[in-house]
Symmetry: C3
Subunit: 369 residues, 3 copies
Amino acid sequence: MAQVAGKVGEEQNMVGKKSASQMADRSTPLMRNHWYVAAWAEEVTRTPLRRRILSDDIVFYRTEDGRAAALHNRCAHRSFPLSNGVIKGDRIVCGYHGIEFNADGSCGLVPSIQSAPRAMRVTSYPLVEQGPFIWIWMGGPEAVDHGKLTRQPWFTEAGWTHVKGYFHMKANYLGLHENLLDLSHFPFVHGAMVGKPEHAEARPKVSVEGDVVHSSVLHKDIALAPEYQAAASLVSPVDRLSEQYVPSPAIHVGKAILTDSSPTPQTHIRYIIHCPTPETQTSTHYFWAIARDHVLDNAKVDAESHAIGAKAFNEDKEVLEEIEEVIARDERTDFRERIISTDEGAIQLLRAFARMAKNEDVEGRSSRS
Amino acid sequence: MAQVAGKVGEEQNMVGKKSASQMADRSTPLMRNHWYVAAWAEEVTRTPLRRRILSDDIVFYRTEDGRAAALHNRCAHRSFPLSNGVIKGDRIVCGYHGIEFNADGSCGLVPSIQSAPRAMRVTSYPLVEQGPFIWIWMGGPEAVDHGKLTRQPWFTEAGWTHVKGYFHMKANYLGLHENLLDLSHFPFVHGAMVGKPEHAEARPKVSVEGDVVHSSVLHKDIALAPEYQAAASLVSPVDRLSEQYVPSPAIHVGKAILTDSSPTPQTHIRYIIHCPTPETQTSTHYFWAIARDHVLDNAKVDAESHAIGAKAFNEDKEVLEEIEEVIARDERTDFRERIISTDEGAIQLLRAFARMAKNEDVEGRSSRS
Amino acid sequence: MAQVAGKVGEEQNMVGKKSASQMADRSTPLMRNHWYVAAWAEEVTRTPLRRRILSDDIVFYRTEDGRAAALHNRCAHRSFPLSNGVIKGDRIVCGYHGIEFNADGSCGLVPSIQSAPRAMRVTSYPLVEQGPFIWIWMGGPEAVDHGKLTRQPWFTEAGWTHVKGYFHMKANYLGLHENLLDLSHFPFVHGAMVGKPEHAEARPKVSVEGDVVHSSVLHKDIALAPEYQAAASLVSPVDRLSEQYVPSPAIHVGKAILTDSSPTPQTHIRYIIHCPTPETQTSTHYFWAIARDHVLDNAKVDAESHAIGAKAFNEDKEVLEEIEEVIARDERTDFRERIISTDEGAIQLLRAFARMAKNEDVEGRSSRS
């Protein structure tokens, strides 16, 4: 693992200022050659859904056989939003001149000329549906890489169940990634239930493989919160191993393994998934889900799990929105945030993202057509 | 008539992409050397009316003898909006220091110095009142050209009556011109009453005289809509000849001639006038009026005529506002709308406007003073 | 006293156009090397107060011994607004990671590393509390100049009392300075009570000492307004000597001396203080106060004094906001306001401010750290 560069001595724990050239920041162009969560599966139906992703205006719908489709939401003819039209068979029909487009973006019919010119087409976006998620490829069609899609069997295989939620966040997506690799804010932002004292000083083990940052931390012999119903069958204290990794700008995977102190130790596994999909440079679709391998059919535990997630993640969202506003209003251009040693995971991530963004820029922005 | 250039083969009906250099588009500077509808005659009174036209903040009022006056709505002294002041005789009195301006923009009095310096003046705009319309010349005073004012006797002469309406439209004015020369959107935007099947495939005859685009189409033997009261005395079927022309960026003239199938054919004439006055590059004052030479004194027919116009033109307005928003949000700069053969009138118009805008630019923007 | 340059003859009273190069205007950078009113003393408490001044986001609070403190409202670590945190002893605690800052901007503690790195610091702003006002130095710490603070004993010494008020004004601060040196708007903006006829044609005597503009005017033998309770003991008519000066961009000092016509003349003195603190280039915190040396303990006179001030100053504020909007919307870049001889005080002030702004620019903007 690379050393955290830029240590400037003084105190051992202080590692200097963020470097705009080496770390991704709010001005770093959004990365296109990745799969992003576009929508929950149930949001995409036979009625058009409009959503902006990486600044692109996109319309989603399902064809007659149930496949999800995504098209640039701007008719090739007179720029009317296709999402204002209707679905007819496998096609979306523009509400201005009735021009019909197929799910692949090709034209099905221009009524006024009773033909379907090849040149009349809109961009179509590759989609992959996996369990609750519909993923969208935001790069060019020539660059589509299914190998970049994060496998998440815990959302599709038996033996698992999950809860999920969504926030529209008025902030750049990077702040959320930083936040997720940082435990030290827990006691200050998340208060009593989640923000246990052991978080503030926890020093996760950070490693980087290629551009993927991993972080893990083991808390031994911790007491179970009495209100934590999902863990009712565990014998306190427990060991909690938290593992996190960030396979792409589009997803942060957290895994928590609780092992109890009963004679025959029981183990509970949870995956806490955060998918920040940039809407624009300053706003983000924040999808989250928590999958678990225990107490599968229990609405009360579902509700508890959802409530804990929704509360904590909303606290983060509010923090990040406040920060976005502060930054937007600050006219000083020389301000550089300070970094401290507990930011190591976040800093490694911003470096990995800076490398990825630079590579994407060198390769050339994919031309969508 | 010039051929529609840029035909790229493929299908005969497809004529390629809009060309930013040859056709006016949303970035084309608004043209100043024209008469635009500024207001309805009854809007301009002895109380100041504030309205923004071609981005100019303008105040309108009437002098004691009833003449309409228009001044730049910014006091020459300290920039207070004159429209916040009061009318006193033939002058408007600024609400900040009481400076009085005459209808020609010259100063009448600066109270604090009890004189009227020649240098203290505001821009005044030439106006012409014709029937319900007050027209304003937005170019320089040296360029005023009364020959450019479209004559519309059907609003002032006996034997005619009219209804009228206004929309504030959050869109560039060009989209409205395109829309008005295009019949193929009727079935999709205007639904049952106006959007008859014969519209979708109609091919109007387009011609260009100088920079004026003409379009006409004859529908023979069409059934009269039963709900169309104004035509109650006509014998169905009728022939409908629709003629349109665009004498300036400020006005689209439509003329509809219905001839019925009675032994001694009766004829009804209607003028459908659309006056899109740019407020800014992205918003438009949309004045419309429908004049007719039949059933002159009939409030029910007036109401019907107004209702049909207001409904259909509002549908267009809503379409154009949606498009404006799509374009404003699209960060792609390489997008070019596709054109098809039924767009011929619109394309010829955008070319004529591009030529006119270029000429105006070459002549130099008129300096208002 | 320098002559008003730029007289272009024509009428003697007309002195030409404002010159952007010689006079400060809305685009002149806000001046930092001055003391500005930041807040009323009672606004700064043990709960953080957030306020934007010269575009800087600032948090104010009081330490345990009651001293006011002001810090840049952006945590040095992750840019969270410190004003969302809490006060703990003499420190403000960031709500994101619990980092503590002292009143001098130095770090008190970073909880996650249990130390207080020297490099982790935020800008602190020098403050001076004087009577009802808390003044803030917006320049660099090396440039702090207590000699620039305007002495105002009438707010702190015995024998005086005062009323005060605040407006948030959506306009650049310069317009207020112009307005305050101009009596000729009184009859048009302030109506009956304040806008006496003698104002419109009053010609104050203007002088400039260094960069400080002085203006004075004596109105002799004027009748006391019957509703003017504070002056009930004076014998009408009175002489009113009004003296004004502008020691800095942050303050306009007005002094009114009324001397009555009783055999043994009584004298009343009032100070009318206006402190326009720029929030941004286009908005202003407008603090005002009126101190008097007569009828000290009288709630009715307090209420009257406050009501007269609040009404008149709000009328000015509304005028200035209208002007700001007119200017913001006007796309013409060649517009120059006309000046007349009664603007002499205002013009001298804008010239003085232009010189001061230029000097500050030459000296280099102070680097705050």
